[in-house]
């Protein structure tokens, strides 16, 4: 039985009333009703109604479909895309309660997109859909161009996809302009004024190399190659820029997975509790809600972790147990006299949803109590197995927390920067992996280097640490060479 649009609108009306009462600030919202096949299609294309064509989306589709057909994984109840207006897909075969829950959940995401700094400091959400659509048109144009064709476009896209996430690890940090970089470099090379210069031996002044490219190590591989490979034809440059731009859409989502899902779950829970559902619906709500936020032993459910932390923040701030900010001589507020929106806990979570991302969120608000409640443990490879190495006890909880922080968001993407674009004076691209204890997967590194080499059209070298030894991976004549440094 499918739910009629009128019925959905009726519920949406009520939910929006609550959304406004709770003070969520959303973009305008649009809901598309779709069936399961279309849902699989949207998943394969990251929800975009229009996107450029590439075989990897076909692969994605097949995988989702196979998993779904064999019952390995179900489909998400909803899919939301970060744009203004915010678009969400509802599956028409879902039950009434699932639709209500989904609509409420979507408004949570919508508010998060509209307010969290990672999203607001990135792309302009008003043009997201147009951007993806426009890229589709441009790629098609290159494919149809007889002098370019599918094969070539595909090759460039393959290469670009390989390094699309090798960009800035925090989009909110403004990059210094070339002039500022030059100035900074010059200034930092100057000797500080020395009041004892007369009795100190005179230090030699080394003039900074202001013509070096790049002046500062560069994180944004795609943008750099597009700018500094002089032999790239214009269409390739255009494709690189497109992929670079689209990555800016995905990075905030990667960065805030736990916060975002936790926030949406927190709000669907609050909204559905306030809707005063009739008993049957309420029972289903309890069941579904628990399915969404249940812990997954052996894994880590971002919905669960996020939901627990958001609730914990609210509770602690309401009770005044806020660590540094809590002290005995401050009179404790009696929160029961305040309206819900005025309570310090609620105010705090609204502040956090604006200024944090997963790494900072966990660092600031993942307490040892939550870690114990969730039984977080650290696992490492030992031979052929993954073995529990640490549990959240007194000695180890901090380290587990650090490991988790390293692994969330863009932390799972190795930091690789361009150090020199003219290494050895033969235009070799010299990359450096900023090693933090985690080695690169060698096969993947090698193939990715090949992709970079194809774009740079010269030799590429990567400095990294493998098994504790500083090494240089080099592609010479399509062969990988490993040098000890």
């Amino acid at each position: 039985m499918t739910i009629s649009v009128e019925e959905l609108q009726k519920w949406d009306e009520k939910i929006r009333g609550l959304v406004e009462r709770f003070g969520l600030k959303c973009y305008p919202q649009e809901f598309d009703i779709c069936d399961h096949n279309e849902m699989i299609g949207y998943m394969a294309y990251a929800g975009m109604p229009a996107r450029y064509s590439h075989w990897s989306f076909g692969k994605n589709y097949e995988r989702q479909k196979t998993l779904y057909d064999y019952g390995v994984s179900g489909l998400p109840y909803e899919m939301v895309i970060n744009s203004c207006p915010c678009i969400a897909y509802l599956m028409r075969d879902n039950s009434l309660l699932l639709q209500i829950l989904t609509i409420a959940h979507v408004y949570g995401h919508n508010d998060f997109f509209a307010n969290n700094f990672t999203f607001t400091s990135g792309l302009d959400a008003r043009y997201t859909l147009e951007m993806f659509k426009n890229h589709g048109v441009r790629i098609d144009k290159y494919i149809e161009d007889p002098s370019i064709g599918l094969e070539q476009v595909e090759r460039v896209l393959d290469c670009a996809h390989a390094i699309s996430l090798q960009g800035s690890h925090n989009l909110a940090i403004r990059k210094r302009s070339p002039e500022e970089q030059r100035l900074y470099k010059w200034e930092s090379a100057q000797q500080p004024p020395d009041p004892w210069a007369e009795i100190h031996p005179k230090r030699e002044y080394k003039p900074p190399d202001l013509n070096k490219v790049p002046l500062e190590p560069e994180e944004n591989l795609l943008g750099f190659i597009a700018q500094y490979n002089p032999y790239l034809p214009e269409w390739k440059r255009d494709i690189l820029r497109m992929v670079e731009e689209e990555a800016k859409y995905f990075v905030p989502q990667i960065e805030t997975k736990i916060m975002n899902e936790g926030w949406a779950s927190y709000w669907h829970h609050k909204i559905l509790s306030a809707l005063e559902l009739e008993q049957g619906l309420h029972m289903e709500f309890m069941v579904r809600h628990n399915q969404v936020i249940r812990p997954t032993p052996g894994g880590l459910n971002p919905y669960h972790l996020g939901f627990v932390i958001w609730n914990d923040i609210e509770k602690r701030w309401n009770e005044g147990k806020t660590g540094r900010e809590f002290s005995d001589d401050k009179p404790r507020l009696d929160v029961s006299t305040l309206s819900e929106n005025e309570r310090p806990g609620r105010k705090k979570i609204f502040e956090v949803r604006e200024v944090d991302r997963d790494t900072s969120f966990l660092r600031r608000f993942l307490t040892v109590d939550i870690m114990r409640e969730l039984d977080l443990f650290q696992h490492e490879k030992r031979g052929k197995d993954r073995v529990v190495t640490k549990i959240a006890d007194q000695e180890n909880w901090k380290e587990i927390k650090e490991t988790l922080i390293k692994n969330v968001g863009v932390g799972a993407i190795p930091v690789i920067k361009i150090e020199d674009a003219d290494y050895g004076k033969n235009r070799t691209l010299y990359l450096k992996h900023y090693h933090d204890g985690r080695d690169l997967q060698l096969e993947y590194a090698e193939q990715t280097l090949r992709h970079i080499g194809a774009l740079w059209e010269r030799e590429v070298a990567l400095e990294t640490i493998l098994n504790g030894k500083k090494s240089l991976l080099k592609l010479v004549d399509d062969e990988l060479k490993l040098e000890k440094l």
């Binding site: 609108q9 949406d12 305008p28 279309e38 390989a162 997975k257 997954t296 039984d375 197995d385 549990i391």
Partner: protein
């Protein structure tokens, strides 16, 4: 804040935009299978399966490479309260390190495998050979004995072929004629009107030509003491390929296994691959046996004959001359005759080689190859097929050039 609901449009009214990308992905998979066919064939899992069943073969999906962290990356996961340091939580597959972070765009390791049926794989394999002439050349039209069809009726014939319907009709016809001519009324006078010999009609049956294509694969293997398990496995893989190939091209395929040491005998598949004999080697014995079998059961005008001999090349010196002679004879009756010398790495130089000896054979449809390891199988097989003889067997040694021969129907 406002909201809009857009009602459902059935899929049939929307275009399927993923179709193009899915197709392209399938193409890429086929491409990658083609590129790695030697590796895939070297996998033990394919060889020796029940041939008539369609099975699924896992193929690694096409990877999308990025920089990712390797296996020494520690991960954090949620437990059930009972985890202690030292507990095993799963396999060390790198994919697991990413479990639970749930990032939509995070690169994980592609553990997903695409499946392809054996049939499809074999099609790709033979597409890869790019031998367009092959089918045309070697498909022979054969009069098959057991195909007959009815054609017309005859007055004489054997009882089983009696056509009851027209016989009865003839009797009725005759009866009406008698009534008309004599004015008799049989019904009233209760007189009989029996069948007459002239009424009887028989179906006439003629043999018909049915286009059938028969092929026989003769697997000849040296089972002397020097053929170890590894060598047998390589030989078996090769025969498997040959059988699959021949099966693609012909309707009716038979396989004959001939094992030889100093004597040869026809054996069952089981015995062929698993029975170990001892003693020396007379290659000529195997060939003679093959010729005998061909003579008795597979006449070259009715059968396409593919013969392949695997040995480690350790023949008695005195037998070499006879072996070459027998090989020449085999070449004349076979579409293809091949000799594969199996020398796995490690088997030393002490053993002899037949390669030099067989080099004297100048028949066009004879092919030699050396198989040292699993990866050699596919190239060896390809080179073997490239020699497929264009002419019908039995017409003597080939002298025509390749260009002229392809004109044969």
């Amino acid at each position: 804040m406002s909201s809009i609901f857009r009602p459902y449009t059935p899929s049939s009214q929307r275009s399927d935009r993923s179709a193009r990308d899915r197709l392209r992905h399938r193409e890429k998979i086929k491409q990658s299978i083609r590129n790695n066919i030697a590796d895939i064939l070297a996998e033990e899992s394919i060889i020796g399966r029940d041939r008539d069943k369609i099975i699924k073969i896992p193929i690694r999906s096409i990877k999308e490479y990025r920089f990712v962290y390797g296996e020494n990356t520690p991960g954090v996961a949620q437990g059930n309260g009972e985890q202690k340091p030292g507990d095993v939580v799963g396999p060390a597959d790198p994919g697991d390190a990413n479990v639970g972070q749930g990032g939509g765009d995070q690169p994980g390791v592609d553990a997903f495998e695409t499946e392809i049926s054996l049939e499809e794989l074999i099609n790709i394999m033979f597409d890869d050979l790019e031998l367009p002439e092959l089918e045309k050349k070697s498909l022979r039209r054969v009069l098959s004995d057991d195909a007959r069809k009815r054609k017309g009726k005859r007055h004489a014939g054997i009882r089983p072929r009696l056509d009851k319907r027209s016989t009865a009709k003839n009797r009725v016809r005759r009866k009406l004629a008698v009534i008309g001519a004599r004015g008799l009324n049989f019904d009233e006078e209760d007189a009989r009107f029996p069948f007459h010999d002239d009424d009887l009609r028989y179906h006439h049956v003629v043999p018909t030509t049915k286009e059938a294509s028969n092929a026989v694969v003769l697997c000849i293997m040296d089972t002397s003491g020097s053929m170890g398990t590894v060598k047998k496995y390589l030989a078996r893989s090769f025969y498997f390929l040959l059988y699959q190939f021949v099966r693609q091209k012909y309707q009716n395929v038979e396989v004959v296994f001939i094992a030889h040491h100093t004597e040869a005998k026809e054996v069952s598949e089981e015995e062929f691959f698993h029975k170990v004999e001892s003693g020396g080697t007379y290659i000529s014995a195997g060939y003679k046996k093959a010729l005998e079998i061909i003579e008795a059961r597979y006449h070259p005008s009715l059968w396409n004959i593919y013969a392949f001999h695997c040995s480690d090349g350790d023949n008695f010196y005195s037998d070499n001359e006879r072996a070459v002679q027998a090989a020449n004879e085999l070449c004349q009756v076979c579409n293809l005759f091949g000799y594969g010398e199996i020398k796995p790495a490690g088997s030393a130089y002490y053993s002899g080689s037949m390669l030099d000896v067989f080099a004297q054979i100048s028949q066009e449809n004879f092919q030699m190859c050396v198989i040292e390891k699993k990866e050699d199988l596919w190239p060896a097989f390809k080179s073997f097929l490239s020699k497929d003889r264009s002419n019908t067997p039995g017409t003597g040694p080939q002298t025509v050039s390749e260009g002229a021969s392809s004109a044969t129907p």
